[in-house]
């Protein structure tokens, strides 16, 4: 059983066919990369899986459940977390609060008990904090805990966004260009952390990425897209040398 399966998904915006009949499946425990030139439809596929866009055709299955029409907020409950290409953090909040929002899917209390901050809410807050601290430890974010996002450098924001996604304790993590805006050193750290996330936490990762070094190092399989079509799926080396992929990037 695949963790995630996309069956001939397409999305059209008016006349623009952003993604056309792309099918792929991601196995449990895998790091799966999506590569392709700009405008190939990589992020669009993420937006389809995380239900920000509606599929025009096709179906997406997560753990054999059809999620093509579930509401956007329900995707997180199922265990799919994502990051955004240009970071979408809660900018006026501290890192800590951002990560705590990541725990929102685990909320068991209702508004009334929260208004009176009953002991159950306090216990839950402590429990959330423990989860958050585990993630902070994993990604070495201790020194930024109380900082407001707006004051942080871009590289740290990217890491905070990954941390927030991890706080959901997802089964599937979608990373949209995790290395964009990072310097080479930070990118090295990232590939190290990706391994940790994948192997220690057992989280399946799908990432959209341009840095081919990172893709080859980290991923088990790669899918190449061009102009909304799937070109090929395979081992990183294989895909890198595939003639169609070379043509898509370099032209004829």
């Amino acid at each position: 059983m695949s963790l995630l399966r996309a069956e001939e998904i397409s999305v059209h915006f008016g006349g623009v066919k952003a993604v056309q009949e792309v099918s792929f499946s991601v196995e449990q425990g895998e790091v799966f990369s999506i590569v392709g030139p700009n405008g190939a439809g990589k992020t669009t596929i993420f937006n389809l899986v995380s239900r920000i866009y509606d599929c025009t055709h096709g179906h997406v299955f997560f753990e054999d459940q059809d999620i093509t029409r579930v509401p956007t907020h329900a995707v997180a409950d199922l265990g799919i977390a994502r990051t955004f290409q240009n970071t979408e953090l809660f900018e006026q909040e501290s890192v800590l609060n951002n990560l705590l929002i990541g725990c929102h899917v685990h909320r068991n209390t209702n508004l009334l008990s929260e208004l009176f901050f009953l002991p159950s809410v306090r216990r839950q807050e402590l429990d959330f904090r423990q989860k958050v601290e585990d993630v902070i430890d994993l990604l070495d974010l201790q020194s930024y805990r109380e900082q407001i996002i707006g004051n942080l450098p871009y590289g740290v924001r990217k890491m905070v966004e990954i941390a927030r996604a991890l706080c959901l304790q997802p089964k599937l993590l979608l990373l949209d260009e995790p290395s964009s805006g990072l310097n080479p050193e930070e990118t090295d750290d990232l590939s190290f952390w990706l391994e940790d996330i994948n192997e220690e936490l057992g989280i399946t990762v799908i990432m959209v990425e341009h840095d081919m070094n990172l893709v080859t190092q980290a991923s088990d399989r790669v899918m190449a897209l061009a102009d909304g079509h799937m070109v090929t799926i395979g081992e990183p080396q294989e895909v890198q040398n595939h003639p169609e992929v070379l043509r898509a990037y370099l032209g004829d």
């Binding site: 006026q92 929102h104 009176f116 402590l126």
Partner: protein, 358 residues
């Protein structure tokens, strides 16, 4: 400068962060509870008025400051709270019960208004809520059998067990206690998941949704809570007016409420209190201003709304974080003296949308 050594997670959860706060807020509470000892009748009334404004401000702050939804129609919820309260008082119900009914009814209306308002943000939402306020005003005028129309409606004196709650001292205490209670509720909200969900919606709807936050539910909740607090303030406001008429709840009142949270400082509870004090004192200030300028200027019609508007604009341009923001800068200046850097609060120019602080 104070550095807090944290050894337990509870320290981040508790409302009181350090002993200094116990001292200063304790002294403030002591001074307020000893109010009747050092305030005369007039000032007691004015303080109670500020407390009422602060309760309404709390409600509006939840909506505007923490959920990021602008409302130009909060006078409507104030009116609904006041009229429902007065109506049931006239029916002979005891006033604590009518106050609860007024609060819940306003919250209900707030929740219902949220449903069509969900699809709108920013200026569109402001206009929609403004329209709602106009509708409520018209209903108050025309539904004479209930509201008394332009003739208005008397507000019976609040009495319970033979105690007259309208006497300045008792009313002062009632407003103070209700304000403190509302404050604690809002502070609890902000440190729990529901409140964090609201700030998440304010900062980025897309990512809030991807974090599993139900946008519609969160916004509806924010509206309902906001309207509930404002309704409670309305019920108290009714006693201050003693006679309700539709012209007490106009667009000017809505703007005043919004002015309060903006001038106080969006996104802070201190700001609510500063704003309430500011708005409470403003009419006196304008009265003094009228006396000190030539009659030709003082008699200009619409002077008050113009001054409100001017203050709002000046704050938005020069101190978007309001009085509380200014206070933080002043405090930092003294804490870091003589090392204060002017640039601390200066935003660098940012070009990416994601780098921009709204």
């Amino acid at each position: 400068m104070r550095f807090i050594r944290k050894t337990r997670y509870e320290q981040d959860i508790n409302l009181i962060k350090h002993n200094g706060q116990v001292l200063w807020y304790g002294l403030l509470l002591l001074a307020l509870f000893a109010g009747p000892l050092w305030l005369d009748r007039f000032l007691l009334g004015e303080f109670a008025f500020v407390f009422i404004y602060a309760i309404a401000g709390l409600g509006l702050m939840v909506l505007v400051g923490y959920t990021g939804l602008v409302s130009l129609g909060h006078a409507a919820f104030l009116a609904i709270g006041a009229y429902v309260h007065a109506y049931f008082l006239n029916q002979g119900l005891p006033f604590p019960v009518t106050m609860v009914i007024a609060t819940l009814f306003s919250a209900l209306v707030g929740g219902l208004i949220a449903i069509p308002a969900l699809r709108m943000t920013g200026i569109y939402l402001a206009v929609a809520t403004l329209a709602f306020a106009v509708i409520v005003e018209q209903v108050l005028v025309h539904w004479e059998s209930v509201t008394g129309g332009f003739r208005g409606m008397p507000v019976p004196r609040p009495e319970l067990f033979g105690v007259n709650f309208a006497s300045p001292t008792v009313f002062y205490f009632m407003c103070l206690v209700l304000l403190l209670g509302s404050m604690i509720l809002v502070m609890n909200l902000l440190r729990s998941p529901a409140g964090r969900a609201m700030t998440a919606v304010r900062d980025s709807e897309t990512s809030a949704e991807s974090m599993g936050i139900h946008l519609a539910r969160t916004k509806t909740l924010a509206f309902a809570l906001s309207a509930g607090f404002t309704g409670l303030a309305g019920a108290l406001f009714a006693h201050r007016l003693t006679y309700l008429a539709p012209d007490a709840f106009t667009i000017i009142t809505s703007i005043q409420l919004l002015l309060m949270v903006v001038v106080g400082g969006l996104g802070s509870l201190h700001g609510v209190i500063y704003g309430a004090i500011f708005i409470g004192l403003l009419p006196q200030g304008i009265a003094i201003f009228r006396d000190s300028v030539p009659a030709a200027v003082a008699q200009i019609p619409g002077l008050e709304p113009a001054i409100f508007g001017l203050i709002l604009i000046l704050f938005l341009i020069y101190e978007p974080l309001g009085i509380y923001g200014r206070w933080r800068k002043v405090r930092l200046f003294f804490e870091e003296f003589p090392m204060y850097r002017k640039a601390t609060y200066k935003r660098q120019k940012s070009f990416l949308r994601t780098e921009r602080l709204q």
